[in-house]
């Protein structure tokens, strides 16, 4: 077990390192950031002075070494645009993203798992058909379109919900629905197909034959065994939400990490982008590790490779 965790941590380290290196290399291809954040009347000579002070004139290998040394100590340098430590700027936005992702994920699971379980249990019933229809629709509707429509109906037209921003629980409603729609659809479909699979197996039939209450069989036995892939999907989806909720965060003026990273990238503010990549890579690796451990916990038959 310990050996397994140690190996996985090492792998995670490799992944984080590679991701950072790739982005570090890419920034040299993406245009000169210095000219972008200085006013337009700055002369070439002054631009050169700024470049020199920021160390952009050093050979790339020197810059890379400096970056790695800093990154190792958790120092990613200052944001070019805001002249403050990049790591702090990104971390300030983390709570907003985590709370929205958490609420959205909770909402998605609360809807998706019962729908998936019931659909599977009553295969080909009207509920099943309706459920499948809804999930297919949920996967097909683009999030940004849904978001704009929600704002139009509930904020501009009915004026019952705030258009965006943070503050009260009311502010969570529309962005979390927008985020949850797609995720819920995926979870519902996955739950349904896993349940169908499990329900067809011998031990469930045995449990039923023994006269256990149907609901108990469904939730206690079947769902537990169907939950392995759900846990993995959960980890994958959560990882994607950190940087992937960009559109929702933008439309609903949600002060999260994704929106900030996109702005940073548009402004070629690479210290900030590198922090973002660092965090997503760490989070992704951590979630995967947790998922694998949850796996073992849910199904002791799995051995650690």
């Amino acid at each position: 077990m310990l050996q397994f965790i140690a190996r996985r941590l090492l792998e995670a380290l490799v992944v984080v390192f590679l991701a950072l290196t790739v982005v570090f290399a890419l920034q040299f291809l993406a245009g000169d950031p210095v000219k972008l954040f200085l006013p337009t009347d700055t002369t070439q000579k002054e631009i050169e002075e700024f470049r020199e002070r920021l160390g952009f004139n050093d050979p790339w290998i020197v810059q890379y070494a400096r970056f790695l040394r800093g990154a190792f100590r958790g120092d990613f340098g200052n944001s070019l645009r805001q002249q403050e430590p990049a790591l702090a700027l990104v971390l300030l936005r983390l709570p907003a993203t985590l709370s929205l992702s958490g609420v959205a994920m909770l909402l998605a699971l609360t809807i998706a798992i019962p729908v998936g379980v019931i659909s599977a249990a009553r295969r080909n019933s009207w509920f099943d058909h309706l459920g499948i229809g809804a999930t297919v629709l949920g996967q097909a509707i683009p999030g940004f379109w849904l978001g704009l429509m929600l704002i139009y109906v509930f904020s501009v037209w009915l004026r019952v919900l705030p258009t965006g921003g943070r503050g009260t629980w009311l502010h969570f409603i529309m962005p979390s629905i927008t985020l949850a729609a797609f995720v819920a659809a995926r979870f519902a479909r996955l739950t349904r197909s896993m349940m169908l699979d499990v329900l067809g197996q011998d031990y469930i039939r045995t449990a039923r034959a023994k006269g256990l209450a149907p609901l108990r069989v469904l939730y206690k036995h079947a769902l537990k065994n169907a939950s392995l892939p759900i846990v993995t999907l959960l980890a994958l989806q959560l990882g994607q939400l950190l940087g992937g909720a960009v559109i929702t965060e933008t439309i609903f003026a949600w002060p999260g990490v994704g929106r900030f990273l996109v702005q940073a990238l548009l402004n070629r503010d690479f210290p900030v982008v590198l922090v973002g990549v660092f965090l997503t890579a760490v989070l992704y690796s951590a979630l995967n590790l947790v998922a694998d451990m949850a796996y073992a916990w849910l199904n002791p038959r799995i051995r650690y490779e």
Partner: protein, 506 residues
């Protein structure tokens, strides 16, 4: 383990519900200004950026500002317009009795400190290059500062506009980081809170040198998406929203809640014709022909719904130095074809690439496409390449654009900041220059005498008109959506100084 997770989630949810603030009386409600981005810093005189500066000026106030229509320079923290006893000396007299928010007195020492701060390379101020001509500064008395320049620098008059002043004692004692997190100024509003990417909260400064602000609490909210900003206005959440698209004006009016207040900004939009690369655009006749070929008035009427003001030359109609005698090129496609043929080209064989930004200026992409389609009517094939802003700027700075590119410039209330920045060969924001033009521009820059200066710039504008370095387009209109209960009018200098705002009495 599962139990703990559940408990945590429930706690999280309860926490969210508990956050709901108590409803406040209508009078206490803050005035909400929705902007696209948060400030890049709250340190005075550090960053040149419209969004940043427009928020800062409410905290810091400024030495001078543009007032009225057409805009003229007026003193705010200064007591009177600067005096220039000779070409190299500037005397700035300051308003007596002004105090910073922390009680520190405002005066010549503070202005001198701010200059020294921004000239210190360690502070990375964008303003340092602008004031590089300063030779020395001397505090003559607590309210008088004398500045000497290395060379005649008439542009100083304009650089002192919107010059914000920091409190020296405070900055010295707490340092840059704290001073930018918790700014102290002498402006009409005091800093309360800055929630990153969310809001900047300010409250009225009762000790402001002018009458205390009518609106007691102000919130700048950061809403990046344009349609979401408009929605927040229509939902009654925001009171002032910038950049309503011309076609949405009716929508705002119909809401009954808000209205659109527009002003012709000093910011101009132009289609630069690059003459640095060999090709047909090096011929003046071809450049003139392109001006004849595009029906700018029709674009203004139909695409902009009249919310743009056509300009005949390189300066807007409200520029101090504009030459009022120029008339726009008329729409005359036949003449265009004739001119191109005279220059030895066949219009149907001409092919150009037009680089356009998207969403940076009002209807920029759409205008570019419309221009391309007008040129297409006389046979010229124009390929429009739409760029994300960073890429667009990078292409322009490194001269990697096509033969034409679309750009805006401003605020531009005097000539040098536009003409000298755009039409000298080393400058890339226009892609045009001739030796003659450079000569005349270099002659005009050091002229201190206002009359002679005016004449010099007028002459240059005539030269530019004939050279046709751009397809001359328009000065953009700033369209603000404003809630009807707010008394506030936009100004061509693109400022949002909320001391000017009031609630409408019912």
């Amino acid at each position: 383990m599962r139990g703990t997770a559940l408990a945590l989630l429930i706690a999280l949810l309860l926490g969210l519900v508990g956050n709901a603030p108590a409803p406040t009386a209508a009078q206490d409600r803050p005035l909400v200004v929705a902007l696209g981005a948060e400030p890049r810093s709250l340190m005075a005189m550090r960053i040149v950026d419209w969004t940043t500066n427009v928020q800062q000026m409410n905290i810091y106030d400024r030495l001078y500002y543009w007032d009225g229509f057409p805009p003229r320079i007026k003193p705010s923290l200064a007591a009177e317009l600067p005096q220039t006893p000779d070409d190299l000396t500037w005397i700035i007299k300051l308003r007596p009795g002004v105090k910073f928010h922390n009680g520190e007195p405002f005066g010549a020492e503070a202005v001198k400190f701010t200059f020294e701060w921004l000239l210190d390379p360690r502070n990375e101020s964008h303003y340092r290059p602008r004031f590089a001509f300063i030779e020395s500064m001397e505090v003559l008395d607590p309210l008088t500062l004398r500045i000497r320049t290395k060379e005649p620098a008439p542009i100083m008059r304009y650089w002192l506009v919107d010059f914000t002043v920091m409190a020296p004692g405070y900055v010295r004692s707490v340092g840059n980081v704290e001073a930018s997190r918790n700014p102290i100024g002498a402006g009409p509003y005091k800093f309360v809170r800055w929630d990153r990417d969310e809001r900047l909260v300010l409250e009225a400064n009762p000790g402001y040198w002018n009458k205390p602000p009518a609106i007691k609490r102000v919130e700048f909210r950061f809403i990046p998406d344009f349609s979401a900003r408009l929605a927040s206005l229509l939902a009654g959440e925001a009171d002032i929203v910038k950049d309503v698209p011309p076609v949405a004006v009716d929508q705002v009016t119909r809401s009954g809640l808000a209205e659109v207040r527009g002003v012709a900004s000093s910011r101009i939009n132009y289609l630069a014709l690059v003459n640095f690369k060999p090709g047909p655009l090096q011929d003046r006749r071809v450049r003139q022909a392109l001006n004849y070929a595009v029906n700018v008035d029709e674009i203004v009427t139909n695409l902009f719904k009249g919310r743009a003001t056509r300009i005949p030359g390189a300066l807007s109609s409200i520029n101090e130095n504009v030459n009022p005698n120029l008339k726009p090129y008329p729409f005359d496609p036949e003449r265009a074809v004739r001119l191109i043929k005279e220059a030895g080209y066949d219009p149907t064989k001409l092919e150009f690439t037009l680089d356009s930004p998207s969403g940076r200026y009002p209807l920029d992409k759409e205008a570019s496409e419309a221009i391309a389609s007008y040129l297409g009517r006389i046979g010229i094939r124009v390929r429009v390449v739409v760029n994300e802003w960073g890429t667009h700027l990078d292409k322009i700075i490194n001269r990697r654009t096509g033969e034409m590119f679309y750009l805006g410039w401003g605020p531009a209330l005097e000539a040098q900041g536009t003409i000298a920045e755009l039409f000298r060969p080393e400058r890339t924001y226009s892609g045009f220059g001739t030796p003659n033009l450079t000569l005349e521009i270099n002659k005009a820059i050091p002229i201190v005498d206002l009359k002679k200066r005016q004449a010099a710039w007028h002459l240059i504008q005539v030269m530019l008109y004939t050279e046709a370095p751009w397809i001359f387009l328009w000065q953009q209109h700033d369209l603000y959506g404003v809630n009807k209960r707010v008394k506030w009018e936009p100004h061509p200098a693109e400022k949002i100084f909320l001391h000017d705002a009031e609630w409408v009495r019912r």
